[in-house]
């Protein structure tokens, strides 16, 4: 992955000028490159990583394992794309192993998630089974540890 993307993946708040400083390039070409990658959907979007407990957001989140019947044309794609479009779905991946889709959903409460699973997901033709796991506690999210790691203390001047 190009260094510009690595930096943005760590911290999307960096401005073109800050990125230029770090990469030793000029600001204009950085801005152009970012716009280009946004157009080409190399960069899908930007979001903050929020500790929901601390933010007082008591939504529930769940991982749903979904088994599907693949289709002759396109395999799992048509169904998976259809499932991914629901607003409740935050992420959706095709997996190897015991099930086919890992669907991450969020809802205001347990009932909302249950309704999504029973009314929307399970009723789709081609969905063979679902198993819903509710998230209990966040330890690490999108590369960030929940709970601040203490800064190591260094002496101020050393050889």
């Amino acid at each position: 992955m190009e260094p510009l993307l690595e930096l943005l993946q760590q911290n999307a708040k960096l401005t073109a000028s800050e990125l230029a400083d770090r990469l030793g390039q000029d600001e204009t070409s950085i801005a152009q490159r970012i716009a280009e990658m946004e157009r080409e959907k190399v960069i899908l979007g930007y979001h903050g990583v929020i500790d929901r407990d601390k933010a007082g957001n008591h939504n529930v989140a769940a991982l749903i394992e979904v088994k599907l019947t693949p289709e002759r044309e396109g395999g799992f794609d048509r169904l998976a794309e259809r499932i991914a479009r629901f607003d409740q779905v935050s992420s959706c991946y095709l997996m190897s192993g015991g099930y086919d889709l890992a669907v991450f959903v969020e809802g205001e409460d347990l009932r909302e998630v249950a309704r999504f699973v029973t009314e929307k997901l399970s009723t789709l033709d081609g969905v063979l089974s679902t198993a819903t796991h509710f998230q209990l506690k966040v330890y690490k999210q999108s590369g960030f540890l929940a709970g601040a790691e203490t800064e190591p203390e260094r002496l101020a001047v050393t050889p």
Partner: protein, 399 residues
């Protein structure tokens, strides 16, 4: 009447001057508003997988002594690593000695090889322990100055001029602390030829060899590190020193090593076994993890340093602070002479007026006068503020 305690200190120790770094450290100590670019270590904690390996070692009760040379598993990892990184093969059973930091290895090398009066050539400005290690081993430290005009490259002709019939050893450190200089291969080859011609032992401290940046300045992929030990006729006369402190951010683990022909390793081991016995086992086990699985983290940290270096050089340029682009380590060594202050005064006033700590170049030998060492192994946010403050400071100075 009993003698004063001061008079009981061994002459060899009493004659060693106090470290300039310690003086400066005491000034900074106790002030919490200071952003320090005065350190000589990474701002990263050791990568988690390495810390975890040390914890695992403790959980399994691995708290004993090891072989004097160090764990064989670690020596095997070191041997494999040095062969790929430096292009020289060492027998892990007989030619690798694990030490408590490179500092111990340096001390062992001096004590194992020097007789009173033997001369050792070293280049300045340099790491603060070189000259004292030579003197404490009853050697004569012969300094060869490197110059800001040459971007602190060590000139083979300067080395040649310092060689006398008493010269026994040559001590090298590239990339260099404090200047960040990387020796060009052509110059290193000339120095190697001198060592062969005059039958010198070479101690080469390559602790910063993973942290180089120059090739990327030209938009090229980084070149492999070139060690003087890999040059013709050098393996049999070279003690290659390396360790885990810098590239793996493991300073507190205190772990280094020496690779050298068996006769030399054996002599160093004699001292090590009676003074240190062995390096701590949990550090050694963590070091195995570092060598076997640590390369991606080393590269991640190196790239972070490279980005900070870019920012620092750009800001120095904007504020009119002359600074050659350092090829390695994590130090910049800007030239402050045009501001009309000694490096000591520049550092003192910067500390007092803007609460930023840099180390006066004079702490690294007379040849460092006129420059200051700024370490960019500091978080980006802190570094930005520090650079802003330095900018404010120099804008008030006559230039």
């Amino acid at each position: 009447m009993s003698k004063r305690l001061e008079d009981r200190i061994a002459r060899q120790v009493a004659q060693i001057p106090r470290s300039g770094i310690r003086d400066f450290f005491e000034l900074v100590q106790g002030r919490d508003d200071v952003i320090s670019l005065g350190v000589g270590e990474p701002d990263f904690a050791a990568p988690w997988h390495i810390r975890e390996a040390a914890i695992y070692a403790l959980e399994r009760g691995q708290t004993s002594y090891t072989s004097n040379l160090g764990l064989l598993s670690l020596r095997r990892s070191i041997s494999r690593y040095i062969e790929s990184h430096c292009g020289v093969a060492y027998d892990p059973a007989r030619e690798v000695l694990v030490t408590v930091g490179v500092s111990e290895a340096l001390d062992l090398a001096c004590r194992a090889l020097l007789d009173p009066g033997d001369e050792v050539i070293y280049h300045t400005p340099c790491y603060v322990s070189y000259s004292p290690s030579i003197v404490m081993a009853y050697g004569v430290a012969v300094s060869v100055e490197t110059r800001v005009e040459d971007e602190f490259v060590l000139k083979a002709e300067d080395v040649a001029a310092a060689i006398t019939p008493r010269t026994k050893m040559l001590m090298l450190n590239f990339p260099t602390n404090p200047t960040g200089a990387v020796e060009p291969v052509e110059e290193l080859e000339k120095i190697a030829a001198l060592a062969v011609e005059h039958d010198l032992i070479v101690i080469t401290d390559e602790i910063y060899s993973e942290l180089t940046y120059a090739d990327e300045d030209q938009g090229q992929t980084p070149r492999a590190h070139v060690s003087i030990a890999s040059m013709p006729g050098m393996r049999e006369r070279t003690i290659l020193l390396h360790g885990f402190s810098k590239a793996h951010a493991m300073t507190g683990f205190r772990l280094g090593y020496a690779c050298a022909p068996q006769v030399l390793t054996e002599a160093m081991m004699k001292i090590h076994q009676y003074s240190m016995l062995c390096a701590p086992i949990m550090s050694q086990l963590a070091a195995v993890e570092a060598l076997e699985n640590g390369a991606p983290e080393v590269e991640r940290m190196r790239r972070a340093y490279a980005q900070r270096r870019n920012l620092l050089l750009k800001r120095f340029g904007e504020m009119g602070m002359p600074c050659f682009p350092p090829g390695g380590a994590f130090y910049a060594f800007p030239d402050v002479r045009k501001f009309g202050l000694s490096s000591q005064d520049f550092a003192l006033r910067l500390l007092e007026e803007e609460s930023v700590a840099v180390v006066p170049g004079s702490a690294f030998g007379e040849a460092g006068e006129g420059c200051v060492r700024a370490c960019y192994a500091t978080g980006m946010d802190q570094l930005k503020i520090a650079l802003e403050r330095i900018g404010n400071f120099v804008s008030r100075l006559p230039s």
